[in-house]
């Protein structure tokens, strides 16, 4: 594998060199057999297994998104002439789409897949702090995911095809499980029979999330290499750290909320259900205390990926490193103070409404800082339009627009008009889907050569990304207008005046599907037929690019010494060998100086 440069141990600092691993011995080929994967303690293999799982969940959630959009093509029932069955089908579909996408795709996508793969290598470590826990977390995820999907999907299959899957209750509460609908004490209790099983699934998934968070926090604290102070960590690590803090502090509240809901249904303990003495608004406090920070579990790691990608592919030191790092932590902490903005019309007190509205706006500022810093990073750069970079720019478009539309929702009087409408649907899809999906894709394209040792095809990848961008805006821009005009969400049928918007939206969804399939084929093609990737195809300077592609089982034979992760000028393109070469002299100089080039 001549294309692989020998592992550079640290930034050219004199370190004892060990022989390179034998040709072809990387984590993929290190051991064989399905069991060597399923029970692997190697964070890279676990990351790849998460990738497969998360993409499967995305496929299922995506199929149901298309079914939803197709059902909404006309105001009347589309798939089934019986109205009651058609509405039930629609309600089951949107619940499945939302729940699968939130719990199984958006939350784990970046931390569990990309985080697991790159975090230890970025730390110059051999693995995460607790590899067994990491595997346990993966199995919790798989167990929870299969259980959860089975319950939700089973109901739809049973109803649509007359199957009799045992325990396939289906669920139509939406991913929010609002009481008392979900506690089923009221009429139509049978329609929420799936709550118990689905909540158990969520509980198990929560464990997965918590264990990953514990692992990442311990790893970042304890495994940083020599030379990597807190303010020399790659911003991806800051983002993952902030994400883990949220996972640790918020997820247990989801767990207890789930347990309380279970207790309501199973043993009749009334905390949330008014029929047995509870209060539904209290449930919403509990639920959003987790679920609002959970939005930041989704977006923070995405921001980390974007910081890496923009800097690397613009070949510029990231602008305002400290501001980006601090804003990650600020967002993580502030995210716990804004949960009530989901409850402005629910009967929450005006005082709490005012407090939460004010605090909500405070989160807008660190988010804005990040956007400005990313754009400034591009200034006077040497920008390469790799697919990762194109996806990152799409992310900026999505996130700017999605984030700014949040201003409507933070403002109390406007929120009251548009909450519970398609405006909300469009807003959170821009942030949670548009942004996170593009960041996830940017990360995949950025690290794909590292993961599999293969380069992706530029033209097809960019075409896919741009198709996705067009499709996405086509889908969700009309939803903003619909929402502002008063079209409520979760409606299986709607007044005819909205049909035009729905048709455009549905067409957009199909365009998105085309874009995503293009990307999927592009990645698969790279996997099978792609050009062999060098150790550092982008000339990046974070530590994962200092080890071969794909990395060997142990990542680094000797712990490397870290320098400034964004010192891209140390890598020079060598036209003769067609690869990036480390300028050791310069690296040594930079490693000995301040982490950033600012001077006070």
């Amino acid at each position: 594998m001549s294309a692989i440069t020998p592992p550079a141990h640290g930034i050219g600092l004199p370190v004892e060199r060990e022989p390179s691993p034998p040709r072809g011995d990387n984590y993929l080929t290190h051991s064989r057999g399905i069991l060597s994967w399923l029970f692997s303690l190697d964070h890279k293999r676990i990351g790849i297994m998460y990738l497969v799982g998360v993409l499967t969940a995305f496929l299922i959630g995506g199929i149901f998104a298309l079914l939803l959009r197709t059902e909404l093509l006309t105001p009347g029932p589309t798939f089934n002439s019986n109205k009651a069955e058609a509405w039930t089908f629609y309600n089951h579909c949107f619940t499945l789409h939302g729940a699968v996408m939130v719990f199984l795709f958006v939350i784990p996508a970046i931390p569990a897949v990309l985080g697991n793969f790159v975090l230890p290598i970025m730390l110059g470590a051999k693995d995460v702090a607790f590899p067994r826990l990491n595997l346990g977390s993966f199995w919790c995820w798989i167990g929870g995911a299969i259980f959860f999907t089975y319950v939700l999907l089973g109901g739809i299959l049973n109803a649509s095809f007359g199957w009799h899957l045992p325990g396939g209750y289906g669920l139509d509460t939406g991913w929010t499980f609002y009481t008392p609908y979900s506690t089923g004490q009221g009429p139509h209790a049978h329609s929420t029979d799936g709550t118990i099983a689905a909540l158990l699934g969520v509980f198990i998934l929560g464990f997965s999330s918590i264990l990953t968070g514990v692992n990442f926090i311990a790893s970042i604290h304890m495994l940083r290499p020599k030379g990597m102070g807190w303010f020399r960590m790659p911003l991806m690590l800051w983002a993952l750290y902030a994400t883990s803090v949220i996972q640790i502090l918020a997820t247990p509240v989801l767990a207890i909320t789930g347990l309380l809901l279970l207790a309501e249904r199973v043993i009749g303990v009334g905390i949330f259900d008014p029929a047995i003495g509870g209060d539904p608004v209290l449930y919403q406090h509990f639920f959003w205390f987790y679920s609002h920070p959970a939005v930041y579990i989704m977006i923070l790691p995405a921001m980390g990926v974007i910081s890496e990608v923009i800097s690397t592919h613009s070949r510029k030191h990231v602008f305002g490193y400290n501001f980006i790092a601090y804003s990650s932590i600020a967002i993580a902490l502030l995210s716990f103070l804004v949960w009530g903005h989901h409850m402005f019309v629910s009967g929450q007190s005006p005082l709490a409404n005012a407090i939460f509205s004010l605090l909500t706006f405070s989160v807008a500022v660190p988010s804005a800082i990040k956007v400005f810093n990313w754009v400034s990073t591009m200034y006077r750069g040497d920008i390469r339009f790799t697919t990762a970079m194109v996806c990152a720019m799409c992310f900026i478009v999505m996130f700017t627009f999605g984030g700014l539309t949040g201003l409507f929702l933070g403002a109390l009087s406007n929120n009251i008009h548009v909450t519970g409408t398609y405006f909300i649907v469009a807003h959170f899809h821009y942030v949670m889907v548009g942004s996170v999906l593009f960041a996830f894709l940017a990360g995949l394209y950025h690290w794909w050569p590292k993961m599999f040792g293969r380069m992706t095809d530029l033209a097809w990848g960019n075409a896919g990304a741009l198709t996705l961008l067009v499709g996405f805006n086509l889908t969700f821009m009309p939803q903003f207008i619909m929402g502002a005009k008063g079209m409520p969400r979760r409606y299986a049928t709607y007044p005819v005046e909205f049909q035009g918007y729905h048709v455009v939206s549905t067409i957009g969804a199909y365009v998105m599907a085309i874009g995503l399939f293009t990307i999927a084929f592009n990645l698969l093609h790279a996997l099978l037929k792609g050009e062999k990737a060098p150790a550092n195809p982008w000339g990046a300077n974070t530590l994962e690019w200092h080890c071969p592609s794909p990395p060997p089982h142990d990542n680094f034979p000797v712990e490397p010494v870290a320098g400034d992760p964004y010192d891209l000028k140390s890598w020079q393109w060598d036209e003769a060998t067609k690869q990036w070469v480390l300028d050791e002299q310069r690296a040594r100089t930079v490693a000995g100086t301040e982490p950033t080039v600012h001077h006070h």
């Binding site: 290499p225 005082l351 407090i355």
Partner: protein, 128 residues
């Protein structure tokens, strides 16, 4: 905080206390002293129920004693006194967020108490 990898947790112990390896060993007298203090505080928290300071104060007194006991357990039995400050920070942060959660929820609950009251019965009067 950037140097754990170099100086993992070699927490310095107060001089004169016994050591093994890199971590502090709590002397028996201290364990017993903490235990005695916990027993005394348990007694106090029960005994104090014979005095009524009014609803609010009662709760805060009981909570104050509980916090004191919890602090003793955390500092000495759980070694936080000699542990890496980060672990203490984790504990305090968790407590802070619990307080935040309870505080804001309670605030809202208090404010909306009036909404649990049924509206007055519509008077059977003709509409103007």
């Amino acid at each position: 905080m950037s140097d754990e990898t170099i100086e993992p947790s070699s927490v310095a112990a107060a001089p004169g206390e016994d050591h093994a390896g890199h971590v502090h060993v709590v002397p028996p007298w201290l364990l017993l002293a903490v235990f005695a203090a916990l027993l005394v505080l348990t007694f106090v928290t029960v005994a104090i129920t014979h005095f009524d300071f009014g609803r609010t104060v009662n709760v805060w007194v009981a909570l104050g004693i509980a916090v004191a006991k919890a602090t003793l357990v955390a500092l000495f039995f759980m070694h936080l006194k000699w542990d890496s400050p980060f672990n203490g920070l984790v504990c305090v942060t968790a407590m802070f967020f619990v307080a935040l959660f309870i505080g804001i929820t309670l605030l809202d609950s208090k404010e909306t108490a009036v909404n649990f009251q049924p509206p007055p019965v519509p008077a059977a009067r003709p509409a103007e």
